[in-house]
């Protein structure tokens, strides 16, 4: 009997039907950006290695980073970093009970997205 009642609970696993609040969207984006940054760590260590080997390696890296493909990679990476950074600072503040109330948390989530948009536009402008 108990089992049948339990089974009637609505289980919503259809990701397209779940309406995430803004804080939830921020949270999942924090995760995705962190995972993306993790995947690219070896690339940056490799480029650091190459750039410090000798004169030739340094100019190779410089040339590589000037190419359009790597410009896109840098933009994607900095976007992820800007997002992860801002959302992370919000997270640290929440840990310290700053802005923990629902309204304040919703507001700060919006602030993260707005500041992010401004910084990303500036960053793209600087790189292109």
């Amino acid at each position: 009997m108990k089992a049948t009642i339990m089974n009637k609970r609505p289980v919503y696993l259809n990701l397209l039907k779940i309406h995430l609040p803004i804080g939830g969207i921020l949270s999942i984006a924090h995760r995705i950006s962190g995972f993306f940054l993790f995947l690219l760590i070896p690339l940056w260590i490799y480029l650091l290695d190459l750039s410090l080997q000798n004169e030739q390696g340094f100019s190779d890296v410089k040339q590589l980073l000037d190419g359009w493909f790597f410009k896109l990679v840098v933009i994607a990476c900095l976007w992820a970093l800007i997002h992860h950074f801002l959302a992370g600072i919000r997270h640290l503040l929440l840990d310290m009970d700053i802005g923990i109330e629902k309204q304040a948390a919703t507001k700060s989530a919006w602030i993260v997205f707005i500041v992010e948009a401004v910084l990303v536009l500036i960053m793209i402008g600087v790189i292109l």
């Binding site: 993790f38 260590i45 650091l48 410090l52 340094f58 100019s59």
Partner: protein, 109 residues
């Protein structure tokens, strides 16, 4: 050590590393914006290989890899449930991150 204390340690490591990463990135950004020399190999090499910068940059990568470890571990614990697969992935990621750490040490120290 209890499971709870393990979680607390990971939580703390995530925050402490995050604070160091933040400070390092902000300092580097100010240094780069304030640099008026053209960036040549010698300038770049002398700057990163100086004792202060090489130590703080190596520390930056250690903090980054530790931060990544806690984050990836959280993701795996949330989405990968079969024990063998989760355990194998954790080992794989741990070895991968340690190789990256050794690589950074070879480059900078």
């Amino acid at each position: 050590m209890s499971r709870h204390a393990h979680g607390l340690k990971a939580w703390l490591a995530q925050r402490v590393s995050a604070v160091y990463l933040t400070i390092y990135l902000l300092v580097i950004m100010v240094m780069i914006l304030g640099c008026d020399q053209p960036l040549t190999y010698t300038v770049w090499n002398d700057w990163l290989k100086s004792s202060v910068m090489s130590i703080f940059t190596t520390l930056f990568f250690f903090a980054l890899l530790l931060h990544a470890w806690v984050g990836i571990r959280d993701i795996l614990m949330d989405y990968v449930h079969p024990f063998v697969i989760r355990f194998s992935l954790l080992i794989f990621i741990a070895v991968f991150l340690m190789i990256e750490a050794l690589w950074v040490v070879r480059i900078l120290l």
